[in-house]
Amino acid sequence: MNKQVLVLDNGANAAKVGFSNATEPKVIPNCIMKAKSERRRPFIGDQISECRDASGLFYILPFQKGYLLNWEAERNIWEYIFSKDCCPVNFNETCLVITEPYFNFASIQEAMTEILFEEYECSSLLRINAGDLAAYRYMKENPGEMCCLLVDVGYSFSHVVPYIKGKKIKAGIRRIDIGGKALTNHLKDIISYRQLHVMDETYVMNQVKEDACFVSHDFNGDMKEARGLLGKNSIVRDYILPDYTTIRRGYVRKPEESGEDSEQVSKY
């Protein structure tokens, strides 16, 4: 009777997976990557940490425009996620909670259900929007609240979703087709135009974004500040890019700490 519950937040960029009693989920890139330097194997999910040279990675993503379209890729990634190398699961004794995007298409839902029951022989399954779970938790932790407005910034789109008394108001859901992928690609555009060609370096540029970018609380003020000269500018940073010989991962450095060397990328 005491079945364990596995939660798979199957995001378009990263899959977050773990048993319900775990403190933290594992975060696995939900993609297959091919490295220029490695002909013998593709890298699935977090196997990319085994790759010596992550420059010029070629991506195969199961999600397009926020929806699961490439099942071949996803099946291979799931096989890895559920394997002993990642997060071993005995599906006969496991209830699976898996997330899906808002307004997921009926045929994608059917395919997912079919594969999870038929292929994995999942004993029970809950397909749900990740935001529903977040709103559920919020209502549990704030018993007096009547409603909440949830902002879900995804990889290919972002949703704003109202919940009233824990119930999702579908008529109020709004989507813009901008998410983390567009931001990384935009950063690549900007840097390639102004400094050096990095259009093929999604992996590294995504790290740059995550290390260096922030959400401004005073946009006009920060834009002004970012204009300031070096020394009078609290926003400008250098970014040291990895070279995959001595530096395996890039990092942010304050400009005053710099001793004028190597490649650097400054941004605001």
């Binding site: 991506y59 195969i60 808002y102 059917e110 935009h186 999604t202």
Partner: protein, 144 residues
């Protein structure tokens, strides 16, 4: 990064080519769409096939299965299908309308707020210096 020219009348080599509003909109939309790309370069190991040497193999042909079930659909097909369902709220209706606030403009060269518009292409610039760079690099040869 291929240089693409949109409108036919751009090709007729007049010195003062100009994009009309529709062409500017098209370019802006195209630039936005390109931000959804997963890769800007070719698969380095395309010769090895899509799933060369994957450790895991489905025990039957997943592709055939999905096809036979009618699950293998492109995004465009899904959207078309969605239109045939009589559901009040769906992917299409959730699309946010344009902002009610006025647009903010940023220099296409340096990224800072800009006050001026390049007359031929409609890009924004903030200073003579940035305009010079823009004319030398991107004006009417839109990249990415």
């Amino acid at each position: 990064m291929a240089a693409t020219r949109e409108s036919g009348r751009l090709k007729d080599g007049g010195q003062r080519r100009m994009l009309d509003d529709a062409a500017r909109m098209r370019r802006a939309r195209k630039a936005l769409e390109s931000l959804e790309h997963d890769n800007f370069h070719e698969d380095p190991h395309a010769d090895l096939g899509m799933f060369y040497l994957l450790i895991y193999h489905c025990h039957y042909d997943l592709n055939d299965f999905l096809l036979s079930m009618g699950f293998k659909k492109s995004f465009a097909q899904l959207i078309e299908e969605e239109k045939t369902y009589i559901q009040e709220h769906n992917y299409i209706s959730a699309q946010a309308p344009p902002s009610q606030f006025p647009e903010r403009h940023f220099c296409s060269v340096c990224g800072f707020p800009s006050n001026y518009t390049c007359i031929p292409c409609g890009s924004r610039y903030c200073s003579v210096r940035c305009l010079g760079t823009h004319l030398d690099t991107r004006c009417l040869k839109w990249t990415a």
